[in-house]
């Protein structure tokens, strides 16, 4: 169509489709306090659960006495492992092929572990009863260091005694979980041995936590009359929870309904299955009443899934001119007491082997040793695809270290090693096929936007002023270029508990031309109700405002693997587009019938089908929808519906160029981020405003992680950061100002070219902020200082470099 008339522009604008910064439809209820979260759910006769948790990191449970708790008025039941054992539910499988105690079975393995579950008439009685449960412990030696755990005679997982292999191969020590390897080890060693320049570094990405504002919880309701179990909960993957619940409980899957209502942030924390869910289900089955369990902030931080805790030993080699020749990485991965990582089944280290980053590295090897320690289980993808932020941090620190060894500018080192545009699709040394990219264009745009050369000159002047004693503040320039790998994933190699990682969309067009679409994903703040309607609007010509998006109810939504790892747009978004195209194909036949021409004589135009060459003769989608329900059309079924299940052919590979500038006070360790520039390329942009919001949020979480956020333990395994006083969650005061930018390199294999963006800013932001801190001290010889870069640790850097005189 060549009709570019204002009338046609108006029709396009009216759709609010792809590219429109449509306001988020969810925000009307959220900003008015009208959201409906798990803790808002109240049911008649509902009981309340609460946990007795272990004060010790490693101890034998000698006895549990529940008499005093049971004697308290209002207490209905106190469950222990003994009560769950006859049901086979005292342990449960993890997503990583391990098993996890639901309630302490003879011993506890981390502080905060669930020991007993109290069920009471109200939340207050439940909390009082928890205090009355008497547990006798016998303390055992505590292992909080994964390196020491691999040397220790103390066996944490006695249940695995004698098992020399696990879900991911050989276990070489009782506290060893797996060794996972990728790449060519011998060839990499050979290259490193003969290299002109090698940078070697241990890089620790500390343990942190997704800390969604809403903690985890559920309401389980077993209806003993009709045999149906309804489970409301904070689930990022409700269908997977339904399947797991069915397999664990023996209740047929059609008799289980799982509902994720509004979710107040997930960030990976709400992917896994927690003991609270299992105990609530059992309690509801036992009592015949609905049972609610909602954890508090301390429980969330201390017991539900952490993220990272990767010790990454790297070696990177290059020619004297700076051309990278090889990369070797060995990771010691602290998984805590149980291997409860949420990764696709075949990838115990997630997609960590994206760690060659954005660079053309001819040969590489990565090995990951998983280790048990006396810490909370988890290892989830906190606002990133599986272990991708670890990988990005690793390679971007190694690039900086290599630049130091080469005495070279690290922006230039990146430039000469980027995968070139003409190399895509690019096969990495560790086995990935990068679908598309244009790194040089993005990098040059970013460097120009911040005035990179001017910044370096300012920094050099600052160093001189510092040496002359005129200032106590240094200036760091943080560079980061990242390649994400998202959209898990192709069913041939990605599954969770055997369920292929496809996703789905089902669309119904109503007779009056509005629509409802249901998806297998679930928004936790991403704005799916806004953006998926935009995809559909452009595909089927119905205004986004006339399309309801519904997710999270397994009785109505098609099966899907849920929302995490930036997979919603790459996978469910693709299913949405393809289901829309099925709608459009049928609409074309209806339009042709109504216009009394052949199917091939009409074509789609914005919101209607027109006769080719005679656009004044048309049928709008509204008219077509009505006809689908009120006319008998020869050869066509009535109605206008479609469903699509999408198995992606490949991952998508969003990328970006991030640069920040930071002032660092060498005396107090205080920092001030003066400028952040974030260029993202997420392929086709569905809603620029939603993208900007996602980037702001992800950058803020990256800032938090780098500058102070950690889950720290003392040597006795006591969690030292169990409240928001000590676990750094930045407020608006601490949060820097952001400038966002973009390039647009569509994914060649995605129906609309979109790649996903929600997690890019965390993946790229962490190396950016950390590199800025390191860069501030580069002139004084700093090589590596582990995150978080809070005040005292920055002070310690300066102290170590002799900058305090």
């Amino acid at each position: 169509m060549n009709d570019l008339s204002p009338e046609r522009d108006n029709r396009i604008a009216n759709l609010k489709g792809l590219g429109c910064s449509r306001k988020r439809v969810e925000d009307v209820r959220f900003t008015q306090g009208k959201g409906n979260y798990v803790d808002d759910i109240k049911m008649a006769g509902m009981l309340h659960g609460d946990f007795v948790r272990s004060p010790y990191a490693h101890a034998r449970v000698v006895s549990i006495n529940t008499d005093a708790a049971m004697a308290l008025d209002g207490v209905i039941a106190v469950l222990t492992a003994k009560d769950l054992e006859p049901l086979g539910l005292h342990w449960m499988p993890t997503l990583a092929g391990d098993k996890q105690m639901v309630l302490a079975d003879g011993k506890v393995l981390f502080q905060g572990q669930e020991v007993a579950y109290v069920v009471a008439r109200d939340r207050y009685v439940a909390a009082d009863a928890v205090e009355l449960v008497e547990v006798e412990y016998e303390e055992l030696p505590v292992l909080v260091d994964p390196f020491m755990a691999l040397e220790s005679d103390t066996v944490l997982r006695e249940d695995l005694a004698g098992q020399t292999s696990g879900a991911h191969g050989e276990r070489r020590h009782p506290n060893h979980i797996f060794l996972w390897e990728e790449g060519d080890k011998a060839a990499t060693e050979a290259v490193l041995a003969e290299a002109e320049v090698v940078a070697e570094e241990m890089i620790y990405y500390h343990r942190t936590h997704p800390c969604p504002l809403e903690t985890c919880g559920c309401v389980a309701s077993m209806d003993k009359v009709n045999g149906k179990l309804t489970l409301y909960g904070t689930f990022q993957a409700p269908h997977v929870v339904r399947t797991v619940a069915s397999l664990l409980s023996g209740i047929e899957e059609h008799n289980i309904r799982v509902v994720s209502p509004d979710i107040g942030g997930g960030f990976g924390n709400k992917v896994g299955v927690y003991p609270g869910y299992v105990c609530s289900i059992v309690a509801s089955i036992v009592t015949g009443k609905p049972v609610k369990w909602v954890e508090d902030r301390m429980e969330n931080l201390m017991a539900t899934a952490f993220a990272r805790d990767y010790w990454m030993k790297g070696r990177i080699s290059a020619t004297k001119e700076g051309k990278i020749t090889g990369l070797h990485c060995h990771v010691t991965a602290d998984h805590g007491a149980f291997d409860a990582c949420a990764d696709p089944t075949k990838f115990p280290a997630g997609f960590f082997h994206i760690c060659t980053g954005s660079y053309d590295i001819p040969v590489a090897y990565v090995g990951v040793d998983g280790v048990y320690t006396n810490k909370a289980p988890g290892g989830v993808a906190y606002r990133c695809s599986f272990r991708v932020t670890e990988a990005a941090y690793f390679i971007e620190r190694m690039i900086e270290r290599l630049a130091q060894e080469l005495n070279m500018d690290s922006a230039e080192l990146r430039r000469i090693n980027f995968i070139r545009k003409d190399q895509f699709p690019y096969h990495s040394a560790l086995g990935w096929e990068y679908d598309s990219g244009d790194y040089h264009t993005a990098w040059d745009k970013a460097l120009a936007a911040v005035g990179y050369d001017t910044l370096r000159a300012e920094q050099a002047e600052r160093v001189e002023a510092f040496r002359r004693g005129e200032t106590r503040k240094l200036m760091g320039i943080g560079l980061s270029f990242f390649t994400e790998i998202v959209g898990a994933g192709p069913v041939k190699n990605c599954d969770i508990l055997g369920m292929g990682m496809f996703d789905s969309c089902e669309i119904r067009i109503h007779p009056t031309g509005s629509a409802i679409a249901r998806l297998g994903t679930i928004s936790q703040g991403q704005g799916h109700a806004t953006t998926f309607a935009q995809i559909l609007a452009s595909e089927i010509g119905i205004p986004a405002d006339s399309i309801t998006i519904e997710e999270g109810d397994t009785d109505t939504a098609p099966y899907g693997l849920g929302t995490y790892g930036s997979r919603s747009t790459p996978v469910a978004g693709a299913a949405t587009a393809l289901a829309g195209r099925k709608i459009r194909a049928k609409a074309q036949m209806i339009a042709a019938y109504l216009l009394e021409v052949h199917d091939n004589d009409v074509e789609f135009d914005v919101d209607r089908f027109v006769i080719k060459g005679a656009p004044e003769r048309f049928k709008t989608m509204k008219e077509i929808a009505y006809a689908a329900y009120n006319q008998a059309i020869p050869g066509l079924e009535p109605g206008l519906e479609a469903v699509s299940y999408y198995d992606p052919p490949n991952m998508t590979y969003p990328f970006g160029a991030y640069i920040c500038m930071m002032d660092v006070d060498v005396d107090t360790g205080e920092t001030e981020v003066r400028q952040v520039y974030a260029l993202d390329d997420c392929g086709t942009r569905i809603n620029p405003m939603v993208i900007e919001g996602q980037v702001h949020g992800g950058l803020t979480e990256a800032f938090a992680i780098v500058m102070g956020q950690e889950i720290a333990y003392d040597e006795m395994g006591n969690c030292k950061t169990g409240t928001l006083m000590d676990f750094f969650l930045p407020t608006a005061v601490e949060t820097p100002h952001y400038t966002t930018d973009f390039t647009e390199t569509p994914s060649p294999h995605h129906p609309i070219g979109a790649k996903g963006v929600g997690e890019s800013p965390n993946v790229g932001g962490v190396p950016m902020f950390s590199n800025a801190v390191h860069d501030a001290f580069r002139a004084f010889g700093l090589k590596q200082s582990h995150m978080p870069h809070d005040h005292w640790r920055i002070w310690r850097i300066a102290e170590g470099l002799g900058l305090h005189g």
Binding site: D50, R123, Y124, A126, A127, D128, E131, D296, R297, M298, D667, T668, G669, E670, G708, A712, K720, T721, M725, D726, F728, P730, T731, V733, E734, D790, H791, W792, W795, R796, E799, H804
Partner: protein
């Protein structure tokens, strides 16, 4: 985060509040803004079977300026301190410090009386009151007495107030000269890594009098007479400031926590004090 059961009392007179304290003894505690006590109760680190809320006692409110003497009722909130024009004029350091306490929501509820009476070494007002030379008015079954802020703090959460007494008011002289409240913290809402309250007067080119107190660098606030003396008679130049820092360093006793190790805290305390002295001197 669910407290144990408690009875809630809301007396409307000081006498009734004292009577409740008498009746319930160790089982009772008074509550001002509640922003320290309620979290402790929710964590079950404090068990208070009888909670006596002072909100309804109007006699505990109000700011009065009587010539050179300022008097603050115990239930004056941090927000009221920040907003009170006369107070900001008569003792501007109070507003400067209050603005660095917690966040606006907390300051609407948090009171000066609760802040000084709780004995939490992390609180900002105790050190500031020592710097100001404030007197605390305590009322108990045996009547009213006055205790100097500099003699009030015995150990963390341990003060000169007896269990049957209520801290009703705080009084201190209006300030003259330069002032500064300098605080380093990890984020908004956090307690100080180190904080310094400094008051200075100038006569000609030299410092005529000084008062210095440090916060969260010991289990009690630290009024450092030696640090102040190091400044008197000097021009508050680098040498004098270094001498004050050294004297202060000898008086503090910080512990290691998530804010950092002892050596870091000592270093930061010195930097913060140095900045506070410089700013106070620039205001003389």
């Amino acid at each position: 985060m669910i407290p144990a059961a408690f009875d809630y009392h809301r007396p409307d007179s000081l006498q009734d509040a004292l009577g409740l304290l008498q009746t319930h003894g160790e089982d009772a505690r008074v509550m001002a803004g509640g922003h320290s006590l309620i979290p402790m109760m929710k964590l079950r680190m404090a068990e208070v079977p009888h909670l006596i809320d002072l909100q309804a006692i109007t006699g505990l409110r109000g700011i009065t300026i009587d010539g050179a003497t300022l008097r603050l009722g115990a239930m004056v909130t941090q927000h009221e301190i920040i907003e009170h024009a006369g107070l900001s004029c008569a003792a501007p350091i109070l507003r400067e410090a209050a603005l660095q306490i917690a966040d606006p929501q907390v300051r609407y509820m948090g009171t000066i009386g609760g802040n000084v009476a709780n004995g939490d070494p992390g609180n900002d007002m105790p050190g500031l009151m020592q710097c100001l030379g404030a007197e605390f008015t305590l009322v108990g079954p045996d009547g009213t007495r006055s205790v100097a802020a500099r003699a009030f703090y015995e150990a963390a959460y341990m003060t000169a107030r007896t269990d049957d007494e209520i801290l009703t008011a705080i009084s201190f002289p209006a300030t003259t000269g330069g002032y500064a409240y300098e605080k380093q913290k990890r984020k908004i809402g956090d307690y100080a890594t180190a904080a310094a309250a400094v008051l200075l007067t100038r006569k000609g080119g030299t410092c005529a009098s000084a008062s210095i107190a440090m916060t969260n660098l010991s289990d009690v606030p630290v009024w450092s007479e030696a640090a102040a003396q190091a400044l008197v008679g000097t021009a508050c130049d680098d040498t004098a400031i270094k001498a004050a820092m050294a004297a202060m360093d000898a008086d503090i006793d910080p512990g290691e926590d998530n804010r950092g190790p002892v050596a870091f805290k000592r270093h930061v305390a010195g930097v913060i004090l140095s900045r506070a002295i410089s700013r106070a001197w620039s205001r003389t």
